[in-house]
Symmetry: C2
Subunit: 500 residues, 2 copies
């Protein structure tokens, strides 16, 4: 059995190596690749993905799993080996259910859909994207059917990003959350607007870069095992637990954008850097799920990075780098400025109080499309009416509406909910963290993060992908994913800021 | 047959993609990787290499080649397909002769030898490296034996870098060259030393970078299909004909170092960027050989970059960037400074008149080791006596002597000669180029390089790896590799500079 297990791990190690190679190649594509490299780059990524898929779904892997699954039952269920066999068996079962004919169709259709979406977005022509999106939806419905029987056609899609999570669970959570968020927003809207004009003047890129680096260095980002670069869209990637990379970008119109992007990606990176080295070269050397990953980035970005305690320590430092821009701005004004709530059209620019509403809207549309109750051609209209209902605003065109996100043209249905679930988990973990470290706020206001990071590492990070997200969240907080802590957090914060 | 050919090309395309993935991963390793990434990086590169090797040497590939070889005979021998089949058959035959047991031993031994060499070099302890080098030599002797019958045991090693070239050919060339170079060096040594002290004062890195970029941009380097970064050791790499990358480095003690490094690597890159796009994703989308590749870098670096015509155009620009450093230096002084001949201990710092002597010394030692006539333990002594004989100087320790180069610890025997052969080819091509473009010197002194680059593209670059180097050099210059043009070039240049 030892020998079988070794064989199994060796095969997985090669799959992981190929994944890391793709990650390096993909990172370079977004960070340093000259324009001309695009064609060959697509070939390289396609070949790496095809070889990794073939290896992972091979009959040899299937036979090894058949032998190892009963063996796993005899092991301590919390052992690395037991978790490894269980998680790999789940992924193997999913990947082998999908015929290669579908994979090829999906690759072809989404490649064309990507170009069509770019054109549609640039020229504000939804009709250019519509037939492609119809094909994508059809393929995704077919995809779901490979996993019959299911409780809901959307289940297999959510499961791809949030293993073990069901549509009905997410709906229950969101249905409880939505009216409370909408109500909070209405209360805020009735209050005077916060002045954040000092955030919309020029700040030097170098100053922003240096400040962001200072912040995540104090958080505990290990520069011997990671780096930061610039890219069009900020992201985190990992080439192994000892080489975790983040990117940021500078928006001339929004001075806080690069900073919060660095903190957000830094949060993802702290998670990856904290995964136990014993999981090296296994598929468990990864985040537990998208939502758990997002909980870490959101916690550092929002609970820490948008807190008053944080700015008590960092505001004097920021004011030293930008003495002119912040000459007449008090700590209190700055804190209120970066927490200004304002319903806006674009998800990625949304504040804490409105973000989840963008997500819920998207998930409702996705479920409608999958169920066949919504037609692609009706999306713009439904989008706009839901925007009106949840956020009280309507996009002037589809560019700032239904065409804004890249996810659908790539066929990523089921991805959006994990952003909102991540917010909820961040608040659950934050409550627990503050129970366990009662003077956490004091520590943060002194620029001390080691105890907090140590707690996160021991409770979450080190386990990597050993547990499914609901299981992990319950182990850490005593409950599966639930909206109450997030609503408590939002209400407390904005009641104080807006004097509700 | 069409279908077989398609299958063959598809398999090769995947091998090429894997090679490009390794190139990206290797580039990042040398350019941006944080220290911690080393362990996982080794795994990634090993897995990519193993998969590519397995694919290339598969039975399936062998069967396709058996079918396609007779077919190739029916094609125009200059066609892409005929050349592809022929070159791949050669490489397949070589790679499949080497048992995987040897490949594994070699990987293990050279990995340990690398660390031992680093320690030996740092601490000047040849005895630390000696037992490892003995193992490497033994493995290389065994390697050669896989290719019996051979005319000389060194032949299969040269063939790895310079396909088709024989030891006896190289020896004949070098034997003709050595006395002439030694004699030229003696004549120069009898003349007054050139003052190049102005090159050994601080020059800003940014100024050097900008100047180097200006130069290779004028040469024709396409920044939409390439880029330059910094690394410890300058190199050129390619992820496809449309993404060719170079690196440079800044030596605070040698102001011209970064510039000539940029020009040298830029020369390699112009070659890669000029390969016909019809060869994309085939193994022919590469340089013809190491020597031909080196001929391109050396030509741009030396024949162009160290010529008076070049500096007529560029010196005023350089003086504008560095007005203080070059305040009292005339064009003539500058030209003489960068062409100063001075026997030195370190190969990579050697000038044009001495460089080949460093190479000949190394090749003689390699041949002696392979023939069993030289023992590893005697290398330091033999090294020093040959340095005395060829260059008139003796290293004070082994760090600046036998331990200086990385090649042997990696088992790269047969590589060194290609550097000198590249110099010879550069002069052969240069003579022909000047015959075909009689006013080339005028063009260069006006900063015009398009006709020269066009000539190189049409005569050399576009063919990629279609022809063996001797064949290609003969097609271009009318002769196989020969030392006379290089000696004519050296003699003319240094007779003028040193008033011989």
């Amino acid at each position: 059995m030892e020998k079988k297990l070794e064989e199994f791990k060796q095969m997985l190690a090669e799959v992981v190596d190929l994944g890391h190679a793709s990650a390096v190649v993909g990172w370079d594509q977004q960070v340093y690749m000259p324009r001309g490299g695009a064609v060959d780059r697509g070939n390289i990524l396609e070949t790496l993905a095809a070889i990794a898929h073939k290896k992972f779904t091979s009959d040899e892997m299937g036979k090894l799993l058949e032998t190892l699954k009963p063996y796993a039952e005899t092991l301590d269920p919390d052992s690395d080996d037991a978790c490894l066999i269980k998680r790999v068996a789940h992924d193997y079962e999913k990947e082998t259910r999908v015929p290669s004919r579908w994979v090829a169709d999906f690759a072809r259709v989404t490649t064309l859909a990507q170009s069509a979406w770019e054109e549609a977005k640039t020229e504000d022509k939804f009709e250019v994207f519509q037939p492609h999106l119809e094909e994508v939806v059809e393929l995704r419905r077919e995809y779901a059917d490979f996993f019959k029987p299911y409780d809901h056609i959307y289940d297999p899609l959510i499961d791809d990003f949030e293993p073990g999570m069901k549509t009905v669970d997410v709906q229950r959570i969101f249905n409880a959350l939505r009216p409370q968020q909408v109500d909070l927003l209405k209360q805020i809207a009735a209050k005077p607007e916060i002045d954040d004009s000092f955030l919309h003047i020029p700040y030097s890129e170098q100053g922003q870069w240096d400040f962001g680096v200072d912040v995540i260095t104090r958080f505990g980002f290990d520069w011997n095992r990671g780096r930061q670069d610039k890219s069009m869209h900020p992201f985190t990637t990992s080439f192994g637990v000892d080489d975790v990379r983040i990117t940021t970008r500078f928006d001339p119109k929004r001075a806080a954008s690069a900073l919060f992007s660095t903190i957000h990606e830094g949060g993802h990176a702290l998670y990856e850097q904290g995964i136990s080295p014993t999981l090296r070269r296994t598929p468990l050397s990864d985040g537990a799920s998208m939502a758990v990953h997002e909980s870490q980035s959101r916690m550092w970005e929002n609970m820490v990075g948008r807190s008053k305690a944080f700015w008590k320590f960092f505001y004097p430092r920021l004011a030293e780098i930008f003495p002119e821009q912040l000459a007449n701005i008090s700590l209190e004004q700055y804190y209120r400025g970066i927490n200004k709530v304002e319903p806006s059209l674009i998800r990625v620019e949304a504040d804490e109080a409105t973000y989840n509403l963008h997500i819920m809207l998207r998930m409702e549309l996705e479920i409608g499309l999958m169920e066949g109750k919504i037609k692609v051609k009706d999306l713009p209209e439904i989008w706009n009416s839901k925007m009106k209902e949840y956020l009280g605003i309507v996009p002037p065109d589809n560019r700032e509406g239904v065409l804004q996100d890249v996810h659908w043209c790539g066929g990523s249905f089921g991805y959006f909910p994990t952003y909102a679930l991540g917010n909820l988990v961040s608040a659950q973990v934050w409550e627990k963290l503050n129970q366990d470290i009662p003077n956490l706020e004091d520590q943060i206001s002194q620029g001390k993060f080691d105890e907090m990071l140590g707690w996160l590492r021991s409770k979450i990070h080190r386990f990597g992908k050993k547990y499914e997200s609901q299981d992990l969240v319950k182990r850490v907080t005593g409950s599966t994913i639930t909206p109450e802590p997030y609503m408590r957090y939002l209400t407390k914060k904005f009641t104080e800021i807006y004097d509700l």
